[in-house]
Amino acid sequence: MQMEYPELYVPKLIPNIPNLSLGLFVNQSSMMVVLLLFIIVYLIISGVLIYHWKTYGMRSPRVIFAEAVYFIISFVLLGIAGGAVYYF
């Protein structure tokens, strides 16, 4: 008859970090929430910037150019973030 020994407990020096399970928090819906919150903040700050550019920018060509560059690149980045959520 074979005797059964209890498993020897070996303490882990380094905790198993993957078992923090990022997968629990990272999913399509949580990413969508983060993206929506980010868009809200983006819209508020953009509103403030537009106000300053329109009120104090004095229709300077530099301000108009900056405005165009700001929005084009922002929309590209938001598109990338949205695409990442879609393909996740």
């Binding site: 999913n27 980010f38 229709r59």
Partner: protein, 180 residues
């Protein structure tokens, strides 16, 4: 350009704009550029120091797509910050007209101060170009002192071509005193 918001007189025009040197803004821009690469550096450090974490995380979900998502939002946050800084830089300006200096201080995005300095009130203008790089790139501090009872001082730091600013203001002040 449309200077309606400055409320100039009908016979008044802007003859010179005084702004800070672009190097001030470029320094902030380089700081943001470095910050833009920070997640990539952190990811590389993680991969070297905790390879098990990276590998096992890759099996639980699509890490590359998640990284693209986080990184695009990170870059967007820096992009917004860049334009907030640019707006503060661009709107911090002195307008020199035939009659006065309109000093606009855009300290923060919601902190704006506008002061008018009549040429007859200006007592002295001091410029200060200090150091190798300011001398090389031609920027320094301009200080305008008024002869009013309060003896106010108006200073703009790291101004582009301060010599020219002083020359324009003195020329206009002389023209005004000759005319009166």
């Amino acid at each position: 350009m449309n200077f309606e918001t400055l409320h100039l007189d009908t016979d008044e025009h802007v003859i010179h704009e005084v702004r800070k040197h672009w190097i001030v803004f470029a320094a902030q821009g380089f700081g943001l550029l470095f910050t833009a690469f920070l997640p990539v550096i952190l990811y590389a450090v993680f991969k070297i120091l905790l390879p098990a974490f990276v590998v096992s995380t890759e099996t639980t979900f699509n890490v590359s797509t998640f990284f693209v998502f986080c990184y695009s939002l990170w870059i967007l946050a820096l992009w917004i910050s860049f334009f907030v800084n640019w707006t503060k830089y661009y709107l911090d300006v002195w307008y020199v007209t035939e009659k006065r200096i309109i000093a606009i201080q855009q300290k923060k995005i919601f902190d704006r101060e506008i002061t008018n300095l009549r040429f007859d009130k200006i007592q002295d203008i001091t410029i200060d170009i200090h150091g190798f790089i300011p001398t090389l790139l031609g920027f320094g501090n301009v200080k305008v002192q008024t002869a009013s009872e309060d003896n106010l001082e108006f200073t703009m730091n790291t101004v582009r071509y301060p010599d020219e600013v002083r020359r324009v203001i003195f020329n206009q002040q002389n023209k005004n005193s000759d005319g009166s």
